[in-house]
């Protein structure tokens, strides 16, 4: 019974999403504004997980929606809007990282994007313990992700952090589903082989 309700709800949501996308394609700004409300947090988090800077994540999210607004007429299948939007987001993140890497060539110290410590976000929060836990969590995540190859890391993040389905990941990365499964399998195998890391993650979670 619950399963039927969930199916109906999902179907209703996707129908509503398709309707909004079609309206936005026709130049309806308020429909696009609703799409922004629906996806802004997802896009922002997706960027934040990879860059760990609130200011940069907000800039990139703005850029992503601007690009989406300009190109929305090119979407053929409205139901694929989510994957399409995430694909734009991934491209923007790659551009940002490329530019950052290029800029770091002209600096004395080598700035590795992946190994950057989390920036000052949240330091103004009164809860210092929460801040320490947050730092510890991202440090552990960084250690795990550094063990994975580029593709494994991307698929792992998309699946468990961004909550994308295998099909959506395949669309966003422009790869076939079996390739995605292979990378995900390898990533999980490496993740499972790190019991110490998993244990410390569990402690953070508790």
């Amino acid at each position: 019974m619950a399963s039927t309700d969930d199916t109906n709800k999902t179907s209703g949501t996707s129908t509503q999403l398709a309707f909004l996308v079609n309206q936005a394609k026709g130049g309806n700004r308020s429909a696009f504004a609703k799409l922004i409300d629906q996806f802004q947090a997802d896009v922002f988090r997706m960027v934040y997980y990879r860059i760990r800077s609130r200011a940069d994540a907000e800039d990139i999210a703005q850029d992503v929606f601007l690009k989406a607004y300009q190109k929305i007429s090119s979407i053929k299948d409205a139901s694929r809007f989510r994957g399409w939007l995430f694909s734009i987001t991934l491209n923007r993140i790659r551009d940002f990282q490329r530019k950052k890497r290029f800029r770091s060539l002209f600096k004395a110290e080598d700035e590795n994007i992946e190994s950057q410590p989390p920036s000052e976000e949240g330091t103004d929060q009164p809860d210092a313990l929460n801040h320490v836990l947050r730092e510890d969590f991202w440090r552990q995540i960084r250690l795990i992700l550094n063990k994975l190859s580029k593709m494994e890391r991307e698929v792992f993040l998309l699946r468990f952090f961004d909550q994308l389905s295998l099909n959506e990941i395949a669309g966003a990365l422009k790869k076939n589903e079996s390739t995605i499964k292979t990378h995900l399998y390898r990533a999980l195998a490496k993740f499972k082989k790190e019991p110490g890391m998993r244990q410390s993650l569990k402690e953070v979670i508790q």
């Binding site: 934040y48 999210a61 007429s73 976000e121 952090f161 995900l184 998993r198 569990k202 979670i205």
Partner: protein
């Protein structure tokens, strides 16, 4: 007792089940449904990953800035040919065509001028050659020739007779 029921999923199969349960062999899929131990191992691992995602969300700041969309940015595709990028593209194309046309015309004119200017160049070359020949004959300028009395010398027969007398037999 069914053999599949006795054989538990190994670690690789467990990971495979988390990636996509449908990729497991049918017997293992059936085992996973019936075996509580394997089922709970799979669910536990999945839950660990779900927690990871939830915690990442929890430890991420919410976006503070509102997304702004430009007022007249998006238009329906039928008007897209009128947008500024297309206008600039069209202008650039026209400019390129004009440039090519102008370039071709100029080149043609230049070629024609080159052909028409040939006789004057020929005359100039002849004049230059005459000058060169004169210099070969005598490299001194006219002033020096006058000083040395070599310029238009006016010697008569008597003078030559004086210089080289005829031998009278």
């Amino acid at each position: 007792m069914n053999l599949a029921k006795e054989q538990h999923l190994d670690e690789q199969q467990l990971i495979q089940a988390v990636v996509d349960e449908n990729d497991l062999p049918r017997s293992m899929q059936a085992h996973l449904v019936s075996c509580h131990q394997c089922r709970s191992s799979k669910v536990s691992f999945e839950q660990e990953l779900v927690n990871l995602g939830q915690l990442a969300e929890h430890y991420s700041p919410p976006p503070q800035r509102k997304i702004a969309i430009p007022v007249h940015e998006a238009r329906s595709s039928r008007w897209s040919f009128l947008n500024w990028r297309n206008a600039i593209g069209a202008a650039a194309t026209v400019a390129a065509i004009l440039l090519v046309f102008w370039g071709t015309t100029s080149l043609r004119n230049l070629t024609e001028f080159g052909t028409a200017g040939a006789p004057s160049e020929l005359m100039e070359a002849k004049r230059l050659m005459t000058e060169v020949n004169m210099l070969v004959e005598n490299a001194l300028p006219p002033l020096y020739l006058e000083l040395t009395a070599e310029y238009k010398p006016n010697y008569d027969k008597e003078f030559y007779q004086f210089l080289i007398p005829q031998i009278e037999t």
